[in-house]
């Protein structure tokens, strides 16, 4: 046991004494791991928010078949949906994009009474008339909006609203670019008095499938998506993006490993003599391999933990500049809103294992080859 402890201490001392050499050699690995951990954290954060949003949303979403795609639902279909057995709430929505100053925002029009049903963090108060709107915290911060301020939403016509409240959503992306107004006002803004974007149906537990079938019996032109289906779409989309990111990351890594190996090679000659000396002084090959493996263990641990801290600062504190636009469309390279992210222990463990494999691959074979060479040859 004392032998292992002595070798561990020696490995740590080697690392400290050669911090510059090890730092250069592991820089490529560190960058690759930081990129991977940041990407995974954003992807997991987005997934979690999307799943939360879906879980907190309606049980069934109805749209209208328009040339084989999802289109707006005639408003006169809403009463029939309310009568379906198992439906407890029907929420028609109008969703569209409009300009607010120089920013495009998503305008969501819902009946005001729906806002009162589910309390959410709000600075200010709920709208009391059609002339008032709620705005998301992220966009309010970005545009410097405050409650009581008047803002103009511009479509075919220009309408001026007063901000009654600023809301915070569990999804920073949701509150990032959303303005919530009364359904009637939204209809006027978009010139759609007789149609809504979709209709959300909230059902009693277990009624989701039967309600979906009942909707199609009312009119086969309805297109129906249950909560489970939407959740599946969302996760599949995220997974696809995650997969593309992983491929790009693997390509970056393919460049990082040879670079790392190249820098590592620069230290081979002194290392060869050092191993030769240790062997001459009575170290066995197993002793040398154990010391080098322990050095790699330290390097991997430092690389993985350092990359995790770097990724945390990059994503959480700096708002993921350069990497966030890959995951969230329309974001600038330097986003001003906080990026959803989840830092889980598993990617950290995988990063550690991965860096251990890379460093071991780069050094153990060389060490072994050197250690089995006659000491006289290494010292020559």
């Amino acid at each position: 046991m004392q032998r292992h402890w002595s070798l561990l201490q020696t490995a740590a001392a080697n690392l400290a004494a050669n911090s510059r050499v090890y730092g250069v050699a592991s820089a490529g690995l560190f960058v690759a791991l930081a990129l991977l951990l940041a990407g995974i954290a954003i992807s997991e954060g987005l997934k979690a928010q999307a799943v939360d949003a879906v879980a907190g949303g309606a049980n069934v979403y109805c749209t209208w078949d328009t040339f084989g795609r999802d289109g707006p639902v005639p408003i006169d279909q809403v009463p029939a949906l309310q009568k379906i057995d198992g439906v407890v709430r029907v929420v028609p929505r109008i969703i569209g994009r409009l300009a607010l100053g120089e920013r495009m925002v998503v305008v969501v029009g819902v009946p005001f009474e729906e806002l009162l049903r589910e309390p959410f963090p709000l600075e200010g108060r709920l709208p009391s008339s059609g002339a008032e709107v709620l705005v998301g915290r992220e966009i309010a911060q970005e545009l410097g909006l405050v409650t009581g301020q008047r803002v103009a939403l511009e479509s075919a016509l220009l309408r001026v609203f007063t901000i009654s409240g600023i809301f915070t959503s569990t999804s920073s992306l949701w509150s990032a670019r959303v303005v919530v107004c009364d359904l009637g006002e939204a209809a006027a803004l978009f010139g759609e008095e007789k149609r809504v974007s979709d209709v959300c149906l909230f059902t009693r537990p277990g009624y989701e499938p039967s309600v979906a079938e009942a909707v199609l019996r009312i009119d086969p032109r309805f297109r129906v998506q249950t909560q489970a289906l939407v959740r599946g779409y969302v996760l599949r989309g995220m997974t696809l993006r995650e997969g593309i990111f992983t491929v790009l990351w693997a390509m970056a890594l393919a460049l990082a490993i040879p670079a790392s190996a190249m820098f590592g090679h620069l230290g081979h000659s002194p290392r060869r003599r050092e191993i030769g000396l240790l062997k001459a002084e009575g170290w066995r090959t197993a002793d040398v391999l154990e010391m080098v493996a322990l050095e790699n263990l330290f390097v991997s641990l430092l690389c993985a933990c350092g990359a995790m801290i770097f990724a945390f600062v990059w994503v959480r504190l700096l708002r993921a500049p350069l990497i966030a636009p890959f995951f969230i469309a329309e974001l600038p390279l330097f986003p001003s809103l906080s990026i959803p992210a989840r830092f889980l222990p598993l990617p950290l463990v995988l990063s550690f294992v991965f860096s251990l494999v890379v460093t071991m691959t780069g050094s153990i074979y060389f060490t072994w080859r050197t250690a089995i060479t006659r000491p006289a040859d290494n010292l020559r």
């Binding site: 002595s6 001392a13 000396l277 066995r284 000491p375």
Partner: protein, 225 residues
Amino acid sequence: MSAPAVRLEEVTRRYAGAGSSPSFTLAIPTLVIPRAAWTVVTGRSGAGKTTLLHILATLDRPDTGNVHLLGRDVTRDSEGALARVRRDRMGIVYQRFYFAEHWTVWENVSCRLIPAGVPARIRRARAEAALDALGIAALADRLPREISGGEQQRAAVARAVISEPDILVADEPTSNVDAETAERIVACFRRLRGRGSAVVIATHDPALVEAADVHYVLEQGRLRG
């Protein structure tokens, strides 16, 4: 009667010449290094002294012949077994010192004790004692590049004697030092011999030759005793 420290039988070691340099062959019919004796090997540069010392110290293996250490034939021993012999029974002073550059002097001196599982505190104490015997205990925490050539030579000797080996093999141990330092090194070797160790030195230094109990001369890879 106990076996000699080292006995070589019909040993040959050949090196192919690189480029235009000629090949070299060391051929030793018989060589005996007694215990508790001071054995000196002399010869011109290129005569094969270092090659012979490498074979005596198990750093190299002969192409043919047998090597007996302390009464045991180690010719076909594994590298691991030879490493253990070097660690526990042998001390080596290399021609070019060889230090791990990022280890301090005391860490270099005591490096053979690491895989033996000796705690750092004891390693340091033993290293300081060995360095003190050679008058450089104050340099224990310096890096090898921070001390002079003569001090490096003494540190290399301290490293070789730290475990009080049964066999000490030294290649030109006084070649880079002043007379006073050479005397300290010689005194250190004498103490070792007094305790029953075999001291084998390849040298050009007349003082070391004069002190020898056994003297071998190497000429172009052939021994003349």
